[in-house]
Assembly symmetry: D2
Homo-oligomer: 136 residues x 4
């Protein structure tokens, strides 16, 4: 089972699956996923809810960190910052691409660009993941 499939297995029944996000690329320096903008993920204005965007991106940054963890270590998001710059309408598909800003021993920082179908930027998310050492 490859890395992408094994991560999808772990996400069964959890928020990434509820969102309906599809991982399309998982490497140590890039994590990509797509998400269909279903009506139930939208605001009253029928554009993708900011919360759904942040949940989508948070997952990408966490996966990127996981791929880079030392054996046995864990991770948690300690802070996350999003700039919302454009809407994603119901019925379209967004793409998130997470790349590392910093891979440290105690923290990793990942940034995710969320783009619409036309390639226009929807949101930019920067998050810090703490590296939790293996339990002794």
């Amino acid at each position: 089972m490859d890395l992408k499939t094994s991560i999808e297995e772990r996400f069964k029944g959890l928020p990434p699956e509820l969102l309906g996000m599809q991982l399309t690329e998982v490497t140590a320096d890039k994590v990509v996923a797509t998400l269909q903008v279903r009506a139930e993920l939208c605001t009253t204005g029928r554009i993708l809810h900011g919360g759904a965007i942040m949940a989508f991106a948070d997952t990408l940054g966490a996966v990127g960190t996981m791929v880079n963890l030392p054996q046995g270590a864990g991770t948690a998001t300690i802070e996350s910052k999003t700039n919302f710059v454009g809407g994603a309408a119901a019925g379209t598909t967004i793409t998130g691409e997470a790349t590392p800003v910093h891979k440290g021993r105690t923290t990793q920082v990942w940034q995710t660009r969320v783009s619409g179908a036309d390639g226009r930027l929807v949101a930019l998310v920067t998050q810090t993941q703490i590296v939790l050492p293996p339990r002794g």
Copy 2:
């Protein structure tokens, strides 16, 4: 129909309902809601997913802004920042309390404290909402 009920009506079939959040107080200076930490909202570690926390808080800050908008105006979140400081375990209930940092003509800034059942802080969310003037 009171304000709280009318907001809940508008949220039918949208992320706030999917999350299962319950508004308990909606005034011009405070918006409070609770959320049951269901397993499907959790990470693989069975604590509430950061994305769910951000979606929950985002809704509170947006509701607070809406209550303070001039007649006919709209709002959108333009940026949001979360510090995660504690976990909320599956089966517990969290409470979010949003209060205004700034109520301006062009932007509003709201801060939401998300606490666990024992009152301990889970996350602190600060978000900026843009005020969209009524369409002419």
Copy 3:
């Protein structure tokens, strides 16, 4: 020599002194300082430069963390977020009050409210400090 004086000694010739900030209270749960808005700290519009506000607040959050560190430990700011909500005019004095959001073993989070002479909020700063264990 009390805590406040000993910190001021350490800041001699460094940015807090260059800014001209005056610590007025240093405890484990609150750090307060004032700053005179000199013309050279302003923007072209003669209001306090955002960079000066962030430098001022950063120092307060770092001092608050230092007061709470275990013996021999150090600290560094790993991230900082500011919302600017009002201007502080040249010739006035601002006050910054930092309080802890979270005092953990690996990180501390502090929030600083910067207010103008009339008590109105100028900026809200939230920062994460990493706790660096004593060198062995």
Copy 4:
């Protein structure tokens, strides 16, 4: 007088000059500057103070916005977020490169990468500038 020189003129006696920052490139899509890490801009640990880094970057993002403003409009930073990922030692020179994330009618978002002499990332700053319409 070119754009760079005219900006430097406006900064005389203000924080950018106090910091000692030198603009090296100013276009509609990139603003670059360098800064010598003088001892007085450092922390007690003789690395560049976070406040100096944020003031440096804030200026770059504001200049980038100014270059893109409609005739007669002004701008102010409404929020700024920094991740600090590495130190810059006294005696070295840092470079900041600001590029636009979003150029909207009501807000612009700029991101500044601050790097050390060896090209390693020191900090990543993302800031939102509000566009203030010309006064009638």
